[in-house]
């Protein structure tokens, strides 16, 4: 195997490992259950704090992890750290986030859990994934 082929395979394997770990994290935490997510958002009902623990655990771990990672000048498998550089709080960011929140509240699915739940095949989930992808194309058209 040539050197560049080997490096491509390693990048693909690293991507798979990240996705697998992420999917396992979502499953273990219960975020693959939209009822838990809606339960967290339902502060006036029987509030379910689980999501708070998930987000807290994930943010703190990532905060510490990133601090260690950024002691390096480049990623292990080459290239550069690709971090967003935009700073301004524009209408596109806030309007987009607002629309996303409405869809999240209605369904209890954000993109990660929706995709990770594919193994539990159901018609409503497939419908949601189809229009989510359509929405990504629409957003791209609007941004162009």
């Amino acid at each position: 195997m040539s050197q560049s082929n080997k490096s491509n395979w390693m990048k693909t394997a690293a991507g798979y490992a990240a996705g697998l770990l992420f999917g396992i994290g979502l499953a273990v935490s219960g975020m693959t259950d939209p009822a838990r997510v809606v339960g967290f958002l339902d502060v006036a009902g029987a509030w379910d704090p689980t999501l708070m623990f998930v987000l807290g655990g994930a943010v703190i771990t990532t905060f510490i992890g990133y601090r260690l990672v950024f002691k390096r000048s480049t990623p292990l498998l080459g290239g550069v750290f690709q971090l967003p550089t935009k700073r301004e709080l524009d209408a596109k960011l806030l309007g987009g986030a607002a629309l996303f929140g409405i869809g999240w509240g209605l369904s209890g699915y954000c993109p990660g859990p929706a995709i990770a739940s594919l193994g539990g095949l159901s018609l409503p989930l497939l419908a949601m994934l189809a229009t989510m992808v359509l929405g990504w194309f629409v957003a791209r058209r609007l941004s162009a």
Binding site: A14, A18, G19, L20, L21, F22, G23, I24, G25, S29, G30, D33, A35, V38, L41, D42, G45, D48, P49, T50, L51, F53, V54, G56, G57, A58, V59, T61, G65, Y66, T74, L76, P84, K86, K92, L93, G96, A97, L99, F100, G101, I102, G103, G105, L106, S107, G108, C110, G112, I115, G120, L125, A127, L129, T131, G135, W136, V138, A139, L142
Partner: protein, 159 residues
């Protein structure tokens, strides 16, 4: 309070954080699902698609691994009708509602450059002002949406 559920949440959250750290240290990328998968599907970037596709397949296989490992590892709140086990919960609404919700999630995360993972986990961990603002905004509209649908329109458990 259900401490077992909270503990599961915390453990799963740590795994998600480890995944985000791993993706950064190996490939130098933010673990934002809408960005990784959205760009893969809408742009198919040349030379930058293989890891995205691999991540997507990993994401789908994660819960299946937990299912295969057997009972007790998942954290589904209510094992309702149509729910395929204790790992993946059933949708809370029908096809019509999900069509609308999916479009909002797609357009919103596309325009807003991220979702719960990109802004909520990785962005907050980087103390990025844009991600803090976005996370505050989508949490707010999600809370209001659930309040209106459940407590004003009286659409109970399954909206």
């Amino acid at each position: 309070m259900d401490w077992m559920a909270s503990l599961h949440g915390l453990a799963g959250g740590v795994l998600i954080g480890l995944s985000a750290t791993w993706l950064m240290v190996t490939l130098g990328r933010i673990a934002g699902i809408s960005g990784i998968v959205g760009n893969l599907i809408t742009q198919r970037p040349k030379g930058d698609s293989a890891w995205r596709l691999a991540f997507l397949l990993g994401l789908i296989s994660g819960p299946l691994v937990i299912m295969a490992l057997g009972s007790g590892l998942g954290n589904v709140a209510v094992n309702g009708a149509g729910s395929p086990g204790e790992v993946i919960g059933a949708p809370v609404g029908g096809v019509g509602l999900m069509l609308v919700a999916g479009l909002l999630v797609g357009v919103g995360t596309g325009l807003g450059s991220g979702c719960t993972s990109g802004h909520g986990v990785c962005g907050l961990a980087r103390l990025a002002p844009r991600s803090m603002a976005a996370t505050g905004m989508f949490l707010l509209t999600a809370l209001v949406t659930v309040y209106i649908s459940r407590h004003m329109l009286g659409l109970g458990g399954g909206v």
